[in-house]
């Protein structure tokens, strides 16, 4: 009888610990830390990093090293965020930062400040629907300032050209990632619209196009 009670207590202890652990994990994931597993990519060694490639290419360039400790500032919407490197998620989409306060720079694309289109993404909200770094990205308008502070003390100054809203399936990916008209561009993207429970994602995307001045 004593043995049976001990077993029951042990089992309840295990379940209690498991539930407490799950509680903490869900809380942390929803509020602070939501890493996305990235896909392994096949690198095209012959490709010069930083040069946008044609859509026909079947592999991608090596990741471009960038200064660590860079920050993105957008005074008009109160953004001052650390910049993480991100690659490609398991779904084939651009990966996202590991938390809700940083932004992610696409490391297989254009280096920030180089000719071409550097792309950054950031969350619009967290797992409790509370505002994340790009909550107000859709409020940016042509002429607003965007700054990238580099660790060497220099700052890149971009100005918004336009801000657009697209259905998630109709985002102009070539324009977003590969446009190279000789100007140094910075494109910002986040989610918008309504939650699509079947896709477990929002059904629109806000994209802000900016150019170095």
């Amino acid at each position: 009888m004593i043995m049976r009670n001990q077993l029951i207590n042990f089992a309840i202890g295990v379940v209690t610990l498991g539930a407490a652990g799950a509680f903490v994990l869900i809380l942390v994931h929803a509020l602070w830390y939501a890493p996305e597993e990235e896909a392994a990519v096949v690198l095209n060694a012959s490709t010069t990093p930083g040069v946008p490639q044609s859509a026909a290419s079947s592999s991608i360039s090596a990741p471009i090293p960038h200064d660590t400790g860079m920050r993105l500032r957008i005074p008009a919407i109160g953004v001052d965020a650390a910049i993480q490197d991100v690659g490609i998620g398991k779904t084939g989409n651009m990966a996202v930062p590991t938390n809700y306060t940083d932004v992610g720079w696409y490391r297989y694309g254009t280096k920030i400040g180089d000719a071409g289109s550097a792309v950054m993404d950031g969350h619009v909200d967290n797992g409790f629907a509370l505002a994340a770094v790009f909550k107000n990205l859709d409020q940016l308008k042509a002429g607003d300032d965007i700054y990238v502070d580099k660790q060497d003390g220099t700052t890149l100054h971009f100005k918004v050209e336009e801000a657009d809203d697209y259905p998630a399936a109709d985002v102009p990916l070539q324009q977003l990632f590969n446009r190279n008209d000789g100007q140094a561009r910075l494109n910002l993207i986040t989610c918008a619209g309504e939650w699509d429970s079947s896709a477990e994602a929002y059904d629109h995307r806000t994209v802000v196009y900016a150019v170095l001045v």
Partner: protein
């Protein structure tokens, strides 16, 4: 004998195809242009709240039960 050879060839072919498929699936190729990122989690609000309520209730009930058992013994 012919049937046996055909069966062996088919088996080898299947094995070869399986190996190729295995190698192909081991690598993840990515096109130059990725898809648009999924940068929102707000739709998980209800699920997160339900999971938190369930796990929290189980943890509290378990702690309550165990603390009572310890007090009794």
């Amino acid at each position: 004998m012919k049937t046996l050879k055909k069966a062996a060839a088919a088996s080898l072919g299947t094995l070869f195809a399986w190996m190729i498929a295995g190698v192909a699936s081991a690598q993840t190729t990515a096109s130059t242009t990725p898809g648009a990122p999924d940068t929102g989690m707000g739709g998980d609000l209800a699920t997160n709240l339900i999971l938190l309520a369930i796990t929290g209730a189980v943890a509290v009930a378990g702690l309550f039960y165990l603390s009572r058992r310890m007090a009794q013994s």
